[in-house]
């Protein structure tokens, strides 16, 4: 097995709190992005690491696209409001990328059950809340299937999206979103009945089938996140 695959596997199996800490340190690091050079160096460091550890490029790029929209908006408004200085505006935009992108990528790889273990056993959040939260995350995977079915029905009934008519396309999107919401709510109701009938309704002192351990890999991921977060402050201190 190559080193890259080892790293990738470790990243996917790692502790959800360690993954969340990656996003947290990027938030802190973003504060030190005071000029374009620092921003570019910090962002490059994250890009290289994500390229090494992410199993597919699709999801990180999607996150990057959303972050770019946010960054561009901030850049433009800073440019308009701050005497049209392009450099200062770009710094603000790059800072948004450094703050938002790493965390949004890391969140995507959380394992719901392990997150629940850590929230309940590590952080001592209320057991019923955590169990319901984990079940809700699990239900998200059924939404993609529902979307496909809703889309097929609408298309076959002449109510599909018409991209040439923006108003009709927006109406289609709203109708799909509403239908998906209704579907999710009704599904959540049925899941609640099923959960209650498995002892959840009367659960008093809930236990957890697996422990919330910190392995060496988890610590390594957390330390890696800290080091990445330190890139911006370090460059800031040196220059």
């Amino acid at each position: 097995m190559s080193a890259a695959r080892l790293v990738r596997g470790a990243f996917l199996r790692s502790n959800p709190l360690a993954l969340l800490s990656v996003g947290l340190w990027s938030l802190v690091g973003g504060l030190f992005v005071t000029d374009l050079d620092i921003g570019v160096v910090a962002l490059s460091a994250y890009l290289v690491v994500v390229a090494l550890v992410a199993p597919t490029w699709r999801y990180p790029l999607l996150c990057l696209a959303f972050a770019l929209v946010a960054g561009a908006t901030v850049t433009y408004s800073t440019w308009r409001g701050n005497g049209q200085e392009l450099d200062a505006a770009l710094v603000q935009g790059v800072r948004v990328l450094v703050v938002a992108w790493p965390g949004s990528v890391a969140i995507g790889y959380l394992d719901p059950a392990r997150l629940g273990d850590h929230l309940a056993q590590g952080l001592r959040l209320p057991a019923r809340f955590v169990a319901a939260f984990v079940a809700a995350l699990q239900r998200l995977t059924t939404l993609a299937h529902a979307w496909t079915q809703l889309d097929r029905s609408r298309r076959a009934r002449g109510l599909g999206p018409e991209w040439r008519h923006p108003v009709a396309a927006v109406r289609w999107g709203l109708s799909m979103a509403f239908a998906l919401l209704v579907h999710a709510l009704r599904g959540a109701g049925r899941t609640a009945v099923a959960m209650d009938a498995r002892g959840f309704a009367t659960a008093q002192d809930r236990t957890w089938a697996e422990s919330a351990d910190w392995s060496r890999t988890d610590v390594a991921v957390a330390v890696g996140g800290l080091l990445l977060g330190l890139v911006a402050p370090t460059v800031w201190a040196v220059t």
């Binding site: 984990v134 609408r154 009934r157 609640a192 009938a197 498995r198």
Partner: protein, 461 residues
């Protein structure tokens, strides 16, 4: 109260938003270890009785509840759709949910998980992903989840209605195998295979009990609304030709060497599964084609590919409807999805029937369609407020009222009562007689069709 005993007295139930009650002063006592088959037509209140036993009525399910329900010991519910009871992404952790709620120690939890998985015959390890299970396996996983609780009363809500006969038998054997001396209450539409395993039959009708007695006594009775053993299939509903005669061009797609890969994009990587592998099948104007096969064999995907709702990975579908704009597709195609709730796009039964025709500028006799399907008294009701059978009939009207030349229904008779079954059989028969090309995916051998193509693990047998 003894463990395994069930007492229901004076139970009345009106769901939120309904005027008339679903259950009216129902009394039902079940002794420990008794095995009860609960029957009734669609909308008779079977699911409401089960939900009352689980304690969900008036709480998780909103409405007005009267009367008393008490259950001795612990109760476990197996829901109709096994995906509703999945709470974790690995099977071991999913089965552990019940024991966790009981506050058991870690060693006892895993002891129970392993025993339950073995008892229902799931051969995979604890870390097997729940999404990778087939329909029958998912239902056995749900059964393991119930079993791990150590229930005194097991309540099954149509546990095999979504499965083909072979898979259904595996799940039924798993249930009977783990039952022991526990109390059983089971609801099922096609109930014949359960009769050997129960002591008592209760038939619900308009909110009360119409029959309560032994299996022998039940078999001597007359229940026209139920699927009695040996009963002939229902007479297909007579549908007037003018309601189904194709209003436009009749297209009949033909698939050659069809290959369809389904792509599931997860963050942890992309899963590509070959749903259809080299299928040749043709629809014919004026004929009804049935795509059959085991649960998960790919019959729904094959139907969707013929309908132009899924693009082929390789091979061809001629004419290829997937290139058409939505409105042009609707002009030739009528599609009824497996889950009726996926079909609904409006807030009233009447609008639901009219909307596609209005989009195409076709004139449709909405009242005639509703009357033919027995929905005329519900014209102003909200589609989501209907019973299961009523929803299925409305989905049929919504998908087909605009008189398409190509009529396609995905699993149209799953879990349906005789009246809805007769409506489906009658509608597709009349459409074919009027010249439409008809195709259904089904594992119902009784549905009258002109040609059957069995799909075996993606290909044709």
């Amino acid at each position: 109260m003894r463990p395994g005993e069930v007492r229901v007295s004076g139970l009345s139930w009106t769901p939120l938003g309904r005027r008339s009650p679903v259950l009216i002063g129902l009394d039902l006592n079940v002794q420990p270890g008794e095995r009860v088959l609960l029957l009734g037509a669609s909308g008779a209140g079977k699911s409401s009785v089960l939900h009352a036993l689980t304690g969900a009525l008036g709480g998780t399910i909103a409405g007005t509840l009267d009367g008393a329900v008490s259950v001795g010991g612990r109760l476990g519910l197996l829901p109709q759709d096994p995906t509703d009871s999945v709470v974790a992404d690995r099977i071991g952790r999913d089965v552990a949910f019940g024991p966790e709620n009981l506050g058991l120690g870690r060693a006892e939890i895993w002891h129970r998980v392993d025993a339950a998985l073995a008892a229902v015959g799931l051969p995979y390890g604890r870390d097997h992903p729940t999404v990778a299970l087939s329909g029958g396996e998912q239902q056995r996983l749900a059964l393991a989840g119930v079993l791990a609780l150590g229930p005194d009363v097991m309540v099954l809500d149509e546990p095999t209605s979504m499965l083909d006969p072979v898979t259904a038998a595996v799940v039924r054997d798993a249930v009977v195998g783990v039952l022991g001396d526990r109390t059983l209450v089971v609801v099922e539409h096609r109930f014949e295979p359960w009769l050997d395993h129960v002591d008592r039959v209760v038939v619900l009708e308009s909110g009360g009990i119409a029959f309560d007695g032994s299996v022998d006594h039940f078999l001597r009775g007359a229940f026209p609304a139920l699927w009695m053993p040996g009963a002939t299939v229902p007479e297909p509903l007579a549908v007037e030709g003018r309601l189904v005669a194709p209003a436009g061009e009749v297209v009949a797609p033909v698939a050659e060497a069809l290959v369809v890969d389904l792509v599931t994009r997860l963050l942890r990587g992309t899963q590509r599964t070959r749903a259809i592998d080299g299928l040749d099948v043709a629809t014919v104007p004026g004929r009804r084609l049935a795509l059959t096969g085991a649960s998960g064999a790919g019959k729904s995907t094959a139907l969707a590919a013929l309908a132009g709702l899924v693009r082929p990975t390789a091979g061809s579908v001629t004419p290829d409807l997937s290139r058409l704009r939505s409105r042009d597709l609707a002009a030739v195609l009528g599609w009824v999805p497996q889950n009726p709730e996926h079909a609904f796009v409006t807030t009233s039964v009447r609008d639901e029937v009219a909307v596609s025709a209005a989009r195409l500028g076709r004139v449709v006799d909405v009242d005639g369609v509703l009357a033919a399907l027995g929905l005329d008294s519900l014209a102003s009701a909200h589609p989501f407020r209907l019973s299961g059978g009523e929803q299925r009939r409305l989905a049929l009207a919504a998908g087909l009222a605009h008189r398409p030349g190509l009529v396609m229904l995905d699993e149209p008779t799953v879990g349906q009562d005789r009246r809805t079954w007769a409506a489906v059989a009658g509608w597709i028969g009349a459409a074919a007689d009027a010249g439409a090309a008809v195709a259904v995916s089904t594992h119902d051998a009784d549905l009258p069709v002109d040609a059957v193509v069995e799909i075996v693990a993606g290909g044709r047998s």
